[in-house]
């Protein structure tokens, strides 16, 4: 049985308040049957330095990505991962992580590809938990393996491929959530220093620049709905209900924006283009815009 949604007034303003829980809720409910707390960080060692008592670790690189193909794990491997982490299909999963839940949102998005029914974010993430002086432990979490069903991934509703983006140019709004310097294509190239491995700098024509972290408040929680609407509706010009594609460099930061648009603002068809700039900036003959202007969609994109 999934846990009851938290009745928190701060969350009621959002489209899907049941997708968020507070640190207080986690402190009260972690360890209860039917609730599994998952930590997912950018830094692969952070969990080991101390985690929410009872939390298990899911790493984006070693657990969620396929080791050979640039893709996510398949249904079999996801089921095996869930079993190893002691997660049942009917469990409520609460994800939290470092950097305003950037990677936690990525993990949540991947859980969503497999349609895990109840997966939530702990608003404010790891930093808020620590700022509030809450307990961390290095004690390993004891896990009983579960029998998680093999569920095939369903990409289409929330994941865009390169072809989808090409088809969408000029019709579906794109949000580029990288830093302004990445968006304009200005790079601080220094010889002999490794860069991010893209051959072209810039952005996908027509994409609006909204760095992902603008959706986060100082304390790492999400901004209010009114503040978010001011950014995505008033400033960017999105219309509630329209299709949107978000991208960044490898699809992690844009998962955060995907969460904001989907679960906080209630857009129904937001897709994350996880190929993102590492694919687009290396692809041959795709259009690239440089500078601060969004740029025009080319008449024929293929």
């Amino acid at each position: 049985m999934a846990a009851e949604a938290e009745h928190d007034e701060a969350f009621a303003q959002y489209a899907h308040p049941e997708r968020l829980v507070s640190t207080q809720w986690v402190a009260e409910h972690a360890g209860e049957p039917g609730i599994v707390v998952v930590e997912s960080d950018e830094d692969v060692l952070l969990y080991e330095t101390g985690h929410v008592p009872g939390a298990v670790k899911v790493d984006w690189h070693t657990d969620l990505n396929d080791t050979a193909t640039r893709d996510y794990v398949d249904g079999e491997r996801f089921a095996a991962l869930m079993s190893r982490k002691g997660i049942r299909r009917e469990d409520t999963v609460v994800v939290y992580g470092d950097k305003s839940n950037w990677w936690a949102a990525y993990a949540l998005w991947v859980f969503s590809l497999f349609g895990h029914p109840d997966v939530r974010l702990m608003d404010g993430g790891r930093d808020k938990w620590i700022a509030e002086g809450r307990e961390l432990t290095t004690e390993p979490t004891e896990v009983t393996a579960t029998d998680y069903p093999v569920v095939q991934r369903v990409d289409a509703p929330i994941r865009a491929y390169r072809e989808d983006v090409l088809d969408a140019l000029g019709t579906t709004p794109l949000i580029d959530v990288r830093s302004p310097q990445e968006y304009t294509g200005e790079r601080t190239h220094m010889p002999e220093y490794p860069q991010e491995g893209t051959l072209r700098g810039g952005h996908i024509p027509t994409a609006a620049s909204v760095p992902w972290a603008r959706a986060a408040a100082e304390d790492g929680t999400f901004k209010s709905r009114a503040e978010l609407e001011a950014i995505y509706l008033d400033e960017v010009g999105l219309t509630p209900g329209e299709d949107v594609i978000a991208y960044c460099r490898i699809g992690e930061r844009s998962s955060h924006t995907w969460f904001v648009l989907t679960h906080l603002l209630g857009f129904e068809n937001v897709r994350n283009y996880d190929g993102s700039w590492t694919e687009w900036g290396n692809a041959v003959r795709v259009p690239v815009a440089q500078g601060e202007e969004r740029g025009e969609a080319p008449e024929a994109t293929r």
Binding site: E42, V44, L45, L46, T62, Q195
Partner: protein, 149 residues
């Protein structure tokens, strides 16, 4: 041989990482992250003398000093990274333990593929390993700049 052409104190670390079974490698990196020496106060109070390694996904600052001139001048390394970035701290700590005090010439001769030799790439991802490559690159760059200056 993954320890080929490495100074002894560095080769030892590569061997150490290879001898540890896979599940314990992260734990070993964590131990390194804990043993990164604090900045001496003269540098801690002058953060402008440190160079930021922007390729790291977390803030990392380093300073390089040469005790003397010429190829044999010992290299002193100083790193600063926050506790919330244990992986970055771990990489810095490995470089500190493996390179600190070596003659400039030997540090410059360390192969650029050093980060790949620890057998960590699979566990921590190539993206994260780039942070270590960048640190090594900047250390060498600073040594060359000082030697030229």
């Amino acid at each position: 041989m993954s320890t080929q052409h490495l100074p002894a104190q560095l080769a030892e670390l590569v061997t150490e990482f290879h001898e540890v079974p896979e599940p314990d490698k992260l734990q070993l990196l964590l131990e390194f992250s804990r043993s990164l020496p604090e900045l001496p106060s003269r540098l801690g109070e002058h953060p402008e003398e440190l160079e930021q390694v922007t390729e790291c996904q977390s803030p990392l600052f380093l300073a390089v000093e040469l005790a003397g001139t010429g190829p044999d001048a010992p290299v002193n390394l100083f790193f600063s990274a926050p506790a919330e970035a244990p992986t970055t701290r771990g990489f810095a700590s490995i470089l500190h333990e493996g390179l600190n005090g070596l003659p400039a010439e030997q540090v410059l001769d360390v192969p650029d593929d050093l980060p790949e030799r620890f057998g960590l790439t699979k566990l921590v991802s190539p993206l994260r390993m780039r942070g270590m490559s960048a640190m090594l690159g900047r250390i060498k760059h600073q040594i060359r700049a000082m030697q030229a200056g």
